[in-house]
């Protein structure tokens, strides 16, 4: 240990100089920001509900069911996703499709997001590219468990996120979301 370190004072003053430098630099930037220089920021933090950091394009967010041109789901109710799901949060009831060229159609397609672990296996397993996790929606907390269950209609109504990762469709609200 150097002599200066043993007596604290030198090192303490050096530390105080560092933090004081940060304080006055940031204070100056805050004042400049308040005076109209909006490109200058006094803090590196993001004010979350108002500001978002850009999401990665690979982000796995709320699922959506891809639609055919006529608006019906592309899903053929093959149960691949339900089978592969490690959290067992997908529940599918299959039905006949009027078009004989299409094998089946889901009558029900529920995802319990309270159980979902966002692994993305369902997207990988799907042979029809009918389920994707690219909506950019992350804020779908709920006061109740039933409020986390998303039905086929809700999942069908969603659109992919815009290139900056922001959601383009409103968050669907399941029944029982409010307390």
């Amino acid at each position: 240990m150097r002599l200066g370190q043993r007596f604290y004072v030198v090192e303490v003053v050096a530390g105080l100089a560092l933090t004081a430098h940060h304080f006055f630099r940031n204070m100056g930037r805050h004042i400049a920001h308040a005076l109209g220089r909006t490109d200058v920021k006094g803090a590196v933090t993001v004010q979350y509900p108002e500001e978002h950091r850009p999401y990665s394009p690979r982000l796995r967010s709320l699922h959506r069911l891809v639609r055919r041109e006529d608006g019906s789901p592309r899903c053929v109710a093959c149960m691949m996703c339900e089978t592969v799901c490690p959290a067992r949060c997908i529940y599918i009831v299959a039905d006949e499709h009027p078009n004989p060229e299409i094998e089946k159609v889901p009558a029900r397609f529920d995802i319990d997001l309270g159980k979902c672990v966002f692994c993305g296996y369902c997207v990988e397993a799907c042979p029809e590219d009918a389920i994707r996790m690219d909506t950019g929606i992350l804020e779908f907390s709920s006061y109740s468990r039933t409020g986390m269950i998303y039905t086929k209609e809700m999942l069908l109504s969603l659109e992919p996120a815009s290139p900056d990762g922001r959601p383009t469709s409103p968050v669907p609200i399941p029944a029982g979301r409010r307390p």
Binding site: Y8, G15, F23, N26, A43, T45
Partner: protein
Amino acid sequence: MDLGIAFGRVAFVMLFVLNVGGLLTWVERKQSAIMQDRIGANRASIFGLRLMGLFHPLADAIKMLTKEDFRPARADRFLFTLAPFVSVFFALAAFASIPFGDTLHLAGREIPLQAITLNVGILYVFAMLSLGVYGVMMAGWSSANNFALLGGQRAAALMISAEIAIGASIMGVIMVYGSLNMQDIVRGQGEPLLPRVFGAWIPAWGILTQPLAFLLFLTAGIAATKRIPFDMPEGESEIIGYFIEYSGMKFGMFAMADFLESVVIAGMTTALFLGGWQVPYLTAGGFQFPWGWTLGLPHLLVVLLQVSAFVLKVSAMIFVLMLIRWTLPRFRYDQAMRLGWLGLFPLSIANIVVTGLILLVGRS
């Protein structure tokens, strides 16, 4: 009428200390945030008005007042309730003899700008600061909790080691200015430090006459406030400390006592080392600059300038205390004890000896 004036003086000091102490919770949040490139608490709002988080102390107070006031079943009911009041009371009372201005001449009366005029004011502040530790010890003892007891013990040990250093470092100041009256000490700091050279002079502020005592007093003073880097009684990371069983506003009072003690230490440092209410080159009649300029000022304006100088110096001192609190890591218990007994104490004794020798040589 005299009673009214006395009441006004006390009310001024009380309101000043209480408000600054309350505001310090905001200052602490914001200053630490800005030092760490953050924004700090800014969400509390009234009708969407945020005012940079100024409502957070208010929200804190409401929260603490409405929380459950819990008392452990085996706690000593009387002492447990008394402890936070003792802490806050002595922290508040300590500021009383710190002068915030020169004598005010108003309507033929002489009003000393000081809550109480004591000729041993410095001993009074010192006594009140040390009595504050009783609240902490009572809290630690009466909580019927081992961690609280440990915190109380540590507080007592820390207080003793810090206060010996405070007392011994103040001794040098008392020797230089030759008085125990804080008002006289502040007046003494308006005199020239060295003999005037062609009329040029610098005021004999305590930080210039007693630089080592200033450092020692500041260090021991921070220890007396029980805040980081000397937060052994609290010890967030090891024992939660003497207030572990307290909740609601009683806990809030302990937190407030720490802030009030910071204000007192800042006020004492200002009065003893930074010239108190002295504005450089401001005499009772106005400014008299050493390079020959003079500027006459009415008496009221002079007093106003002096009081604002005092408030400004205290605020600057509080800034420094906060800066230290948010810069330095905390000392371990044994490190703090070693610093107090083997560092501060011998150095302040040496300071007394050296000051005495210099005074002796200067006089003869």
